[in-house]
Amino acid sequence: MSAREEILRRIDGIVPARPDAEIAADYARIERGYLRRHHDDGVLDLFAERVAHYRAVVLRAAEADLPRVIAERLAARPGAHGVPGDLPAAWLAGADADLVRDPAVADLDGLAGAVTGCAAAIAETGTIVLDHGAGQGPRALSLVPDYHLIVVRAAQVAPDVPEALERLDPSRPLTMVSGPSATSDIELSRVEGVHGPRTLEVVIAE
């Protein structure tokens, strides 16, 4: 008997298989008495505060002001920055920096940073979610360089975890980012900066 057959036979012997419809009905009966959101108002302020709590840099800018703010941030970080080829061109209109569009993975370690958009964000937990679709590049782009600048549009910010998950497509690879890389492995205290980007900057476009 194969391992698969044997394990499933053991399990079916303990908790017998039932029709799919019965299982679905049981699943629907699971109590979900928790809140869909913990805050109704001031969602953007909450998001900014919660991201900053992780010691990320948070900036707020009008959509029209984005090119100037991005240009300033990149100017403060000498070296080449990787950007997805489909990042909105207007965002980089003011940038004087050396930009590498769609860099090869092998070149990422030589870059100073990366600039991307995101797919959604969660105010309650200060989390930004990338689905590595439009304007975000493949997963390695925002991982290997030591600096990550993310532009979050106000409309992308969900108040809490349940509503954010509803906006996401599970068939895409997802990366949820809550602050810069950190560890709690030394005496259970949080220290920023291990393998992922040690500096995270977030620009909220309103």
Binding site: A3, G126, A182
Partner: protein, 507 residues
């Protein structure tokens, strides 16, 4: 069935009381543990108090996990189908040896002799690193605490922070001695230590062709796998190599993506006391042009179906490995993780290890007793595992199935023989009454002679009564016959207390 080697006990591992006695006598270890668990306890309490609906989240988490366990065969089949549809390959392993064999063969098929690893309890449980080493494959741990344990030739002592027994100066000493590229003047500041780990592992991440990970959650209806981490080593391993092999216990399933809304709130707050951990990665099979080209999922039984078969014990399979129960446990704080003789220490380890491994060894038979039953672990558990209930249940099983002291075994066999016959019982009770003046001159037995002495080392035993309840009943017709010799106390020969005890009323 579970073999005793399904999850190897550490070589020469003494039973919990022996190991704990040594640990408690180590002031440095106790200091490190008290500091670390004290810090996290306070912060976790704040993180949990921030959510008004924590109780409701906890109840939902419990119900989702119970629902999966009650329909495990269904959800495993769905998960297998969805992962396969998305371009992954699913493997099944009955036990540790089979899982290790599968992983080793997959690595060999790539022609590589090195793998990078994301911290994973499942691969600790099966001893994967050791098994790979025997096949000439080097496994590099990339989580900071796992790296500290690996470089220090040490064993993990905590689920979340395997090097919790090491303080910052211990870590600096290990890095200076064992990390070839560590700066000679490395300080013990956590930021410098983290920087040293970053430099040490960067080249490995960039050149690794094969990675091995665990899995926090597997979403059945989409085939999506989820890993929560902090440092970015997980993202490196899940993204950069060409081949990814993930090992997960069969119980790690949630039915739909929606269920993550519960667990992504419960797990980070319970484990690191954060609103959210720095990085959570999800992937579904293979994503062309982004990440590994080859993905393998190993579904591991290794004693989990045996655990599922125990209706009281199966709730241990709800565990999401947050380690909150360790951090609140007074026994763990003093004894440390190594005393539990398993990669799963603390209260959850005390109920998980004996069930996964079977109660075949001294250490596993002793684990259900590694608790004062204070209940702090149950209070802290984000999926409401009633750990004290399972501990008490496993104590009964340890007595039935566990290894026993030969004298205890002989005594129990004799007791069984005696109790099966009223005549033999009466005879034995008369003999016991006759012995009271010899063994218990002051009414208490301080020390029993011969091999029974071990039992009285830590406790006094009451002396046998002058007259047994049965003898008293026969003589007085249950207290109805007048008896000038012994008085007419209707409660019996030894007064109310003794009578109750003999009838087992206050047991």
């Amino acid at each position: 069935m579970t073999s005793q080697n399904a999850m190897p006990t550490y070589l020469g591992m003494p039973s919990f009381p022996d190991a704990a006695r040594r640990a408690v006598a180590d002031p440095r270890l106790r200091g490190n543990l008290a500091h670390a668990t004290g810090t996290i306890r306070e912060r976790r309490a704040d993180a949990v108090a921030e959510l008004d609906d924590w109780g409701a989240l906890r109840e939902s988490g419990k119900q989702i996990k119970d629902h999966v366990l009650a329909n495990l065969g269904h959800y495993l089949r769905v998960l297998e189908e969805k992962v396969t549809e998305a371009g992954g390959t699913v493997h099944w392993a009955r036990d540790a040896a089979e899982a290790n064999r599968i992983v080793a063969d997959l690595v060999k098929a790539t022609g590589e002799t090195e793998v990078v690893k994301v911290k994973s309890m499942a691969t600790q449980e099966i001893g994967l690193n050791e098994a790979l080493a025997e096949e000439g494959i080097a496994a590099y741990e990339t989580d900071l605490a796992e790296l500290i344990v690996q470089l220090g030739h040490d064993r993990p002592s905590h689920i979340l922070v395997p090097a919790i027994h090491r303080n910052r100066s211990d870590i600096r000493d290990i890095f200076r001695k064992e990390m070839p590229d560590a700066p000679a003047d490395l300080s013990d500041s956590p930021a410098d230590l983290a920087e040293a780990a970053r430099r040490h592992l960067r080249a490995k991440f960039l050149s690794a062709k094969v990675a091995v990970s665990g899995v926090n959650f597997a979403v059945a209806d989409t085939g999506t796998l989820v890993v929560l981490e902090s440092e970015g080593n997980g993202r490196m391993c899940l993204t950069l190599p060409e081949t990814l092999i993930s090992v997960m216990g069969v119980e790690k399933i949630v039915p739909t993506m929606r269920d993550l809304e519960v667990f992504l709130q419960l797990l980070p707050r319970s484990s690191t006391a954060e609103r959210m951990n720095p990085y959570t990665s999800t992937w579904t099979g293979v994503h062309p042009g982004d990440g590994p080209r080859d993905f393998h999922l190993v579904l591991l039984d290794n004693g989990r179906t045996d655990t599922l078969a125990d209706e009281v014990g199966r709730q241990a399979l709800r565990c999401i490995r947050c380690s909150a129960c360790l951090n609140v446990c007074p026994v763990y704080e003093r004894a440390g993780g190594h005393a539990y003789g398993s990669p799963y220490p603390g209260p959850i380890g005390a109920i998980l290890s004996p069930q996964i491994r079977g109660i075949g060894s001294e250490v596993d038979a002793s684990l259900p007793y590694a608790s004062s039953l204070c209940g702090a672990c149950f209070e802290a558990c984000p999926v409401a595992i009633d750990i004290p209930e399972v501990l008490v249940h496993l104590r009964a099983r340890a007595v039935e199935d566990g290894p026993r002291h030969p004298v205890e075994k002989a005594a129990m066999t004799a007791a069984g023989w005696t109790l099966r016959s009223p005549a033999r019982l009466a005879l034995a009770q008369r003999a016991a009454s006759a012995s009271r003046r010899i063994v218990a001159p002051r009414g208490r037995i301080r020390r029993l002679p011969g091999p029974l002495g071990a039992w009285t080392e830590t406790r006094d035993a009451p002396a046998p009564p002058k007259e047994s309840f049965r003898a008293w009943w026969a003589r007085t017709d249950g207290g109805r016959a007048p008896d000038p010799g012994h008085g007419t106390d209707p409660a019996g020969p030894g007064g109310t207390e003794d009578a109750k005890r003999e009838k087992g009323e206050d047991a």
